[in-house]
């Protein structure tokens, strides 16, 4: 598929067409920050954003969703959200997070609810223009992305380079007024991507990202877990803003007829009190420090073992910004372990 170039004016026109015809979600300003939301005007799209408050995960795994409806003694019926939509402005690190959850939700058991939303989506990613205050994607090797998206946009100044990676993306892009990208254009894109692969580094990891699982082999009883968790609110903010967290709870509610109702899935968080409590009251991960450790082991050891070694932290920095007592930063913890374990 040929790589195209699209002027900023043409992109606005193209997005304007899209929002008039399709369900489109895109990055917009929210006060002095940014977030994904329903896009109604191309002018509102902010591809120059630094980071969104919530990752785009919510379009595939919503904070609350109905899995099925039921009628007492009559049975259950699956519920699906099957409307196609376009998602514009996903940063590479968030795209990689989506790719990871895709894998988790189809390996072993196939989650039709997640996958239906996923296959209804056309994803337009964009290379990062402005680094956020806590991004460390370069450190996690997630500053650029090679697959998963339908179209990749790169801002090269007066225009965007647009590369369709799927037939769906190509069909969508064909509706825009584009020209073939020149060698010079592609060089510009490559430079931007190369720069991002270095510069999205507000926090520096002292080891290679691939060394993290090995580092955790010997870190289970390290004092850092207790030390950090001493000031943990167990508020789950780190879980709630994380693009790779996917734990959930399931709850039933009935209508007033007391017969019909729905079974809903809602986000949960491994940092929350009671997360591992069984009926009867035994809590298998009662201590904050144990939950704190579990989260960081999930990111760099447990989940990677399920997805071919990829580290399940993509360096978006959202947890760093969201954590009030400033303990959530994975880089700080991993560096501390590196200092204490590897340099000894």
């Amino acid at each position: 598929m040929a790589v195209k170039k699209i002027t900023k004016a043409a992109l606005t026109e193209w997005v304007g067409e899209l929002v008039s015809k399709e369900r489109v979600f895109g990055v917009q300003s929210k006060g002095d920050k940014f977030d994904f939301g329903p896009l109604t005007s191309a002018q509102d799209l902010r591809l120059d954003y630094d980071v969104t408050l919530q990752p785009p995960k919510k379009y595939f795994l919503p904070p609350v969703e109905t899995l099925l409806t039921f009628e007492v003694s009559a049975g259950y019926e699956s519920q699906y959200s099957d409307k196609p939509f376009v998602l514009i402005g996903v940063h590479p690190y968030d795209m990689i997070a989506i790719n990871q959850i895709d894998e988790l939700f189809k390996q072993g058991y196939y989650d039709t609810h997640y996958m239906t939303r996923r296959s209804n989506a056309t994803i337009i990613t964009c290379d990062v223009v402005n680094a956020s205050e806590n991004v460390f994607a370069s450190q996690m090797k997630t500053a650029t992305v090679k697959d998963g998206f339908d179209i990749l946009l790169t801002d090269i100044g007066d225009s965007y380079i647009a590369e369709a990676a799927t037939e769906k993306g190509e069909a969508l892009l064909s509706k825009a007024e584009t020209a073939d990208a020149s060698k010079d254009d592609l060089d510009k894109r490559e430079k931007i991507q190369k720069d991002n692969e270095k510069n999205l580094s507000k926090h520096q990891l002292k080891c290679e990202v691939a060394e993290l699982p090995g580092l955790l082999e010997n870190a289970y009883n390290h004092p850092v877990w207790e030390e950090k968790a001493a000031t943990c609110f167990a508020c789950g903010s780190c879980n709630q803003v994380c693009p790779t967290c996917y734990c959930f709870n399931v709850q039933d509610d009935v209508k007033w007829d007391m017969k019909t109702g729905q079974r809903c899935r809602a986000w949960d968080g491994c940092m929350l009190d009671g997360f591992a409590m069984v009926a009867g009251g035994h809590d298998f991960r009662k201590k904050r420090a144990d939950r704190f450790r579990h989260r960081l082991y999930r990111k760099a050891k447990y989940v990677p073992e399920k997805i071919g070694g990829q580290i399940a932290c993509v360096g978006c920095g959202r947890c760093v910004s969201a954590c009030l007592p400033d303990i959530a930063n994975p880089v700080n913890v991993y560096n501390r372990l590196f200092d204490d374990i590897k340099t000894k």
């Binding site: 408050l53 000031t231 508020c235 929350l272 009190d273 910004s321 969201a322």
Partner: protein, 249 residues
């Protein structure tokens, strides 16, 4: 199966939580269709001593109120505390920060010594009698209230969040109000409100009470980081948290 009989009582409060029930609008019809309301001073004139579920609004502020709520408890199979005044003592507990004679004089002036104006330290309902379920908030959240009632009708224990408001706030994509200079109590206050205040740009005032294990050390750390003093934080906590848990520490 006969419909459970429900009676609604009020103690020291603004009755705003009962008003939330009245404000259920169409859903109110569903509610009174599913249960048999036998007493509800705010909405009807009938009274009854026979009920299965007692819904108690307001805090307990006089010795005679203690007697009354004990009688209610003895008649009810299930007792629900409705709203912050009932669940945690609420704003009424501000009184407990002062000498009671001063309080009476401040409020009633020359009449402060009149016997019918006597007052005692404010108590949440569960400081006097056993409470089965709590509908938190000032005012209560209507959705949560109806969910809890439906759970009871099904014979099921409702799942009330044990985690802080931040969970719901972050899930909504709100920026943290601490970044904007507000001393938000979200990290130590029980969720379930859908982070209503922070979602509207107002800090969490703490009306749902503290989570089971609020991390006071963390709160101290954070106020230092933001250049505030313990007193600044406590000043925000006394509105709904007077003479309770971490406010005293």
């Amino acid at each position: 199966m006969s419909k459970p009989r429900i009676a609604i009582f009020d103690f020291a409060c603004c009755e705003g939580c009962q008003l939330q029930i009245v404000n259920l609008e169409e859903e109110l019809l569903d509610l009174i269709g599913a249960v048999d309301v036998v007493e509800w001073r705010e909405a009807m004139s009938e009274q009854s001593h026979e009920y299965d579920i007692a819904i108690v609004e307001g805090s307990i502020t006089r010795p005679e109120d203690e007697d009354r709520v004990e009688i209610i408890r003895s008649r009810a199979k299930i007792l629900i505390a409705l709203g912050a005044c009932a669940t945690i003592g609420g704003v009424n507990k501000l009184k407990n920060n002062f000498d009671l004679d001063d309080v009476k004089e401040c409020v009633y002036g020359d009449d402060a010594k009149m016997p019918h104006l006597d007052t005692a330290m404010t108590k949440a309902v569960d400081e006097v009698v056993e409470v089965d379920y709590k509908v938190h908030g000032c005012p209560i959240d209507r959705k949560e209230f109806t969910y809890i009632v439906r759970c009871l009708l099904l014979g099921k224990k409702p799942e009330i969040p044990e985690w802080p408001v931040c969970v719901e706030c972050k899930a909504k994509g709100n920026p943290c109000l601490w970044e904007y200079g507000q001393v938000c109590l979200g990290p130590i206050i029980r969720a379930g409100c859908g982070a209503r205040c922070p979602s509207s740009g107002f800090r969490c005032f703490g009306c749902r009470g503290y989570v089971d294990e609020p991390n006071v050390n963390a709160a101290k750390d954070v106020i230092e980081k933001y250049g505030l003093s313990i007193e600044d934080l406590k000043g925000k906590m006394i509105l709904f948290g007077s003479t309770q848990g971490p406010t005293n520490e």
